[in-house]
């Protein structure tokens, strides 16, 4: 009963200083908003990458040029690339029976033109056997053959985004497109795979090497027969390649290696940006404390009066504490709504996901901030000497 009435008094006094209350909670609003938005973007990014890997299919091992340590300049490993087609044979010869396929992979970005339209696409040179390795499903037409690969035929199977951009609703089959100013015949299209595979143009890797005049291959992709052999296969690939290459010239990565490394980086990043956003919550809390201290001083006489009329220290402390808690809860709530809006807007460009724990954390932390930073002003109010307080001018 009494608690409800004191709370009502607190709301009334916040309402009387509406402008000030709104400015005070801005810090908490911004804090909660940024925690929610940034965490959900980070979370969305993690999901996106996970999906990318799933779209690739499992059991894949990648041999990448250079030492993969996720540090330094990634392009450096390509300029010192020593991976060649012969290394594919090297692996096949020494441990061929462990793999479904071992094949080279060549990738390059290039402008693809059809009549007046241009689209910057991912040109992926793969092996004729690799349609299954990468889980490509045909929408129209056919895949290229081993014979076409051997003759470096200028043919392409294009992704749904490329179809949309260059052809719209028309069928692209048997059309001629230009890749790096060389004419290719479109022999097929593949179904949506999700993620950035969809802007791909698949060509025989031999053709890609010719078109882009590349000596080396971007990587070697090996599909292991049995999932449990992935570790053993990794070792076999290393042994095979060390016959021709030095240890620093290549690295063998499994999907799980890459995924877990990227996931852990993103996790740290998400926690990092979340904590930075959390600091603004802390600053918001200090703002609340500051304004509550001002409020306690302004209302010194009121505190004296309430004490004279029978308010206990607890009653006074409660009244002021509940004010700061209301401020921070209000800020937290507005922050959540804005965070949700922010996430909604970013979802138009990025993949996002608001994890429930982020909502609880942001809101819980804002209440915590209200209590922590409200306590000192509340105690200060409660401890005021009634005689001094009544005399205060």
């Amino acid at each position: 009963m009494k608690i409800i009435d004191i709370s009502r008094t607190s709301i009334r006094s916040l309402n009387a200083n509406r402008g000030r209350s709104v400015l005070t909670i801005l810090g908490v609003v911004i804090g909660v908003f940024s925690v929610v938005t940034l965490v959900s973007i980070g979370r969305g990014m993690q999901n996106y990458i996970e999906d990318q890997f799933n779209a690739l299919g499992s059991n894949l091992l990648f041999v990448a040029p250079g030492k993969a340590d996720f540090g330094g300049d990634p392009s450096a490993s390509q300029t010192r690339n020593k991976l060649e087609e012969k290394h594919v044979d090297l692996i096949k010869n020494s441990a061929g029976d462990m793999f479904v396929t071992v094949s080279p992979y060549v990738v390059a970005g290039a402008n693809v033109k059809y009549k007046t339209k241009t689209y910057f696409a991912n040109i992926q040179g793969i092996d004729s056997k690799d349609q299954k390795t990468y889980n490509y499903e045909l929408q129209q037409g056919r895949f290229f053959t081993k014979a076409e690969q051997n003759t470096s035929a200028k043919i392409a199977i294009i992704g749904p985004l490329v179809v949309d951009e260059l052809f719209g609703t028309r069928s692209p089959l048997d059309s001629r497109i230009k890749v790096n100013d060389e004419t290719y015949l479109v022999i097929g299209t593949f179904k949506e795979k999700g993620s950035n595979f969809d802007d791909g143009v698949i060509v025989p890797y031999t053709t890609a090497k010719e078109t882009f005049d590349i000596q080396y291959v971007s990587s070697i992709v090996a599909k292991v027969k049995n999932q449990e052999d992935v570790e053993l296969a990794t070792r076999e690939i290393k042994i095979a390649l060390l016959n021709d290459l030095k240890e620093d010239d290549f690295s063998v990565l499994s999907q799980t290696d890459i995924l877990s490394t990227i996931q852990s980086i993103l996790q740290i990043l998400t926690i990092g940006i979340g904590s930075i956003a959390g600091i603004s919550l802390l600053v918001g809390g200090i703002g609340i404390m500051n304004i509550m201290l001002v409020s306690v001083t302004e209302r010194t006489r009121e505190i004296g009066l309430r004490k004279a009329l029978g308010a206990t220290q607890f009653d006074i402390a409660y009244q002021f504490l509940i004010e700061s808690v209301f401020l921070s809860i209000g800020g937290g709530f507005i922050g959540l709504i804005l965070g949700w809006l922010g996430t909604f807007i970013s979802a138009q460009f990025l993949r996002t996901e608001i994890p429930f724990w982020a909502i609880l954390l942001a809101f819980g932390f804002s209440v915590f901030v209200g209590v922590v930073f409200g306590t000192y002003p509340a105690l200060k109010a409660a401890k005021k000497d009634p005689v001094e307080a009544l005399r205060y001018e």
């Binding site: 009494k2 004279a308 009329l309 029978g310 009653d315 009634p386």
Partner: protein
């Protein structure tokens, strides 16, 4: 007009000392007074005589350096804070020179304020507050905010607030000090009316003329009682 031979509020050998900038100041020097049920008495003295300090100690807003305050036979000056708050709420009604009303609240809400800290059930609050506003002649102003009231009306609201919990004693500190003489007189008349209805009232004032209108006066000078006067 004491209707009781034993005092119900007693201050016994009160000493109050302050330290200001290293020098000891004795605001009250061995002061003993007794308040009897139903009387209208005054504590009179010039500024600095210690009369306000005495009132604060009687009203349990301040604690004496030594000496005791006895209410209804119990020593109350050394109780724990929350019990003291309870005694203030139940037994004592304060009226201040500068009214001390909450600006944003209506007259009725101001009068209800002590009830918020009492054990009185909420459904009685409005009824009780209205009764007291009626008693001080302000039943038509109860929805006015305090800053819409005149000085005299403000003090009437403050008196209604002091009465709302039916305290044993009203302590009024210079209640006419901020009012013109005509309004001051009407406020004093209100006190005499309340006294006739049985309220015990202690008036603290520097105004000797006003003080002489009460039944009993105690004069303070430099923290000591210099004169008792019974009419």
């Amino acid at each position: 007009m004491s209707d009781n031979s034993t005092p119900f509020l007693k201050a016994d050998s009160i000493v109050k000392e302050y330290r200001i900038d290293g020098t000891e100041i004795r605001a009250l020097d061995n002061v003993s007074i007794e308040v009897y049920k139903g009387e209208l008495m005054s504590i009179v003295g010039k500024s600095g005589s210690g009369k306000s300090t005495l009132m604060h100690i009687l009203g349990l807003l301040d604690t004496p350096s030594s000496g005791k305050v006895i209410l209804n036979g119990d020593e109350v000056s050394r109780l724990k804070e929350r019990y003291i708050a309870k005694v203030r709420n139940n037994e004592i009604g304060f009226v201040f020179q500068s009214f001390h009303l909450l600006q944003r609240a209506t007259a009725l809400e101001n009068v209800m304020l002590p009830l918020m800290y009492s054990s009185v059930p909420k459904h009685l609050w409005i009824k009780m507050a209205k009764e007291k506003l009626d008693l001080v002649g302000l039943s038509d102003r109860m929805d006015n905010k305090s800053n819409e009231l005149s000085g005299g009306q403000k003090q009437r609201v403050a008196i209604a607030r002091a009465l709302v919990n039916d305290p044993s004693i009203i302590l009024a500190d210079e209640p006419t000090g901020n009012l013109d003489s005509k309004t001051g007189e009407s406020i004093f008349e209100l006190f005499t009316t309340l006294n006739k209805q049985g309220k015990t009232i202690v008036l603290v004032t520097h105004d000797e003329e006003l003080s002489q209108k009460t039944n009993r006066q105690i004069a303070l000078k430099d923290g000591k009682i210099v004169q008792y006067l019974n009419i």
